[in-house]
Amino acid sequence: MPWTHIYADKEDWEGLAPEKGLRSLSYVQALNETQELLLESDPAVFVLGEGVDDPGGVFGSTLGLAGKFGKKRVLDLPIAENGMTGVALGAALAGMRPIFVHMRTDFLLMCADQIANHAAKWRYMSGGNQGAPLVIRAIIGRGWGSAAQHSQALQSMFLPVPGLRIFTPATPYDAKGLLVWAVKSKDPVLFIEHRWLYGSVGYVPEGLYTVEPGQAVVRRQGTDATVVAVSHMNIEAARAARALSARGISIEIVDPRTIAPLDMETILKSVEKTGRLVICDCACRTGGAASEIAARVAEAGPSLLRAPVARVTFPDIPTPASPVLEEAYYPGAKDIARAVAEIMP
């Protein structure tokens, strides 16, 4: 299906995609279009964040929106993330549909109190009386020495917060469908993007459609090992699949698309078929989606596995600045291929 396909490289897209009638957009275009459509169709929707109206437009993802909808609905904010998250939440409680945008997930830590103590628990604490429909977009940065405070992938830290959904779209199609779902939902959503996905292209239908959370997608069928890939790791996994197939190893790539909720059914079904599992996350090793998936597979039936589970993640080290250390820090297709090869008989 066109919307499940990951185009790891530009040639890949040029070779495969322009099947007749398929509209292609980049990830950033998809985000921009989605917000435009939502702003157009629902007066309660507004976008807020530092620089959402500036000439950079949050790496292009909000570019042009302020011109079209005005600076009240595309609202620049002071650098006051903690308070402003509360302001966004308050607006949500008063019936608005805020989309709060952060250029880096690192800044989510400033908002952590409002997200975890307030928004995520609001519905439950109120006995279900009142939901908190707040959407927070945040981007994982990478490269050019962004270093320890500008390229963290902090979605893991929010995984243990009940009441919060965490989306990690890897394709333009999912970015759009999941963002629409998030904004229409009655509860808070942490919407995690990856800066290195912004330029990747794929099929995106026109108009509004939704992608349901908790529904993984099999991006590539395979028989020897299941590779679960989160966010940008899908690109690396697609490359690894090619390299491995040249060596006669066939991997099945499963993209959970949302790490909370997690679609374990699809993952387990795949593991049942392949008997091997490699989990690739865009985050440090400890306590992230990879750990959680491994734990759940262990609970569901370790007998499914013919080899130990392997994880491909960032190391438990702050992001270094030097290009040579960045190179060593980020796992890629080679590391995935190696991890798979190591658990093959």
Partner: protein, 329 residues
């Protein structure tokens, strides 16, 4: 030469060093091998120079993403900074931190962070430590107008006033946070007006006048060292380059070209040089010589940095914890 003259020349030397240090980054950045997001302080040199000239050994200073000037003004080795920006093992953070996190503990710079507002309370904590130990030192928090948006500033200032801590809150008000003007973020363009309510002396000064910065900081430092508590110093200044990177952002529509042109006419380095020439503290030959020597020093530092070794990738985990002799599993 009188002590005052020596100080004054020192200010000029620092400003020229900072200016040329940054301009050399602009020159080399196109080669794309300085892979670090550089936040240049061209146009704001007088604040770093004027404040740091009042610091003595043991004083601690905390800075931001826009830290190059603060480090150099405190005596940081340009080669250690350049090497850090080039990601080399010889850099001041061994290539781990890059341009946003320089650290020179021996100079009174424990480290630098780039979370806006994040370092303000650290200066207060350092002030608390000095006060607990009865030490004649002070701490400086450098931050931008953008950081004054953060609630953490109010929390920090209030606590410092409560305990009469030896802290200089130094706000470099350059009017913008990235492309967002102060007027879009705050109802009052004077950051210090908001702070006065916390009950500490506030000073608004021309941040492009090195002498004025120096005097304001000297008074604040004297108060801090005398146990009279913190001062809020707001210096109005302007950044010439874009928020990050070597280019100017005016062409991109981030701010009006006329505004930049007007501020360039008030170049802090040129203003101070002219004042010193007029007063006869320096002559043209001295200034020429100063630029030449500075350039030689910086060119050497750049060349040194470029040929320094990169860190060993196998060493990537070094420095997560203090070395204990035992590996963390």
């Amino acid at each position: 030469m009188s002590l005052a003259e020596e100080k004054v020349r020192g200010l000029l030397e620092t400003m020229v060093l900072v200016r040329r240090f940054e301009e050399k980054i602009v020159e080399v950045y196109g080669a794309q091998d300085m892979k670090s997001p550089v936040h240049l302080c061209i146009g704001q040199e007088a604040v770093a120079a004027g404040v740091c000239a009042n610091l003595k050994p043991g004083d601690l200073q905390f800075s931001t993403h826009r830290n190059h000037g603060h480090c150099l003004a405190r005596g940081a080795d340009p080669a250690a900074l350049y090497a850090e920006f080039y990601g080399r093992e010889t850099g001041c953070c061994h290539g781990r931190g890059g341009s946003m996190h320089p650290s020179f503990p021996e100079l009174g710079i424990p480290g630098t962070t780039a979370i806006v507002g994040g370092t303000i309370p650290l200066a207060v904590g350092a002030g608390l430590a000095f006060s607990m130990r009865g030490q004649d030192n002070l701490a400086v928090a450098f931050f931008g107008d953008g950081a004054s948006d953060q609630g953490i500033l109010a929390e920090s200032v209030s606590f410092a006033v409560l305990h009469r801590l030896p802290v200089l809150f130094v706000c470099e008000n350059n009017g913008y946070a990235v492309a967002s003007p102060l007027s879009a973020r705050q109802p009052d363009p004077d950051v210090s007006a908001r702070m006065a309510g916390f009950g500490l002396p506030t000073v608004v000064e021309d941040g492009n006048n090195a002498a004025a910065v120096y005097v304001a900081a000297a008074e604040a430092a004297a108060r801090a060292r005398a146990g009279e508590g913190p001062t809020f110093l707001e210096f109005k200044t302007y950044r010439w380059q874009g928020h990050v990177g070597p280019e100017c952002d005016v062409e991109r529509g981030c701010r009006p070209a006329e505004e930049l042109a007007a501020w360039k006419k008030r170049c802090p380095v040129a203003l101070f040089t002219r004042a010193l020439l007029e007063k006869g503290v320096v002559d043209e030959a001295y200034v020429k010589d100063l630029y030449e020597k500075t350039d030689q020093r910086l060119d050497k530092a750049l060349a040194e940095a470029r040929k320094s070794p990169f860190p060993d990738p196998a060493d990537i985990g070094r420095g997560v914890f203090a070395e204990t002799g035992k590996a963390d599993s």
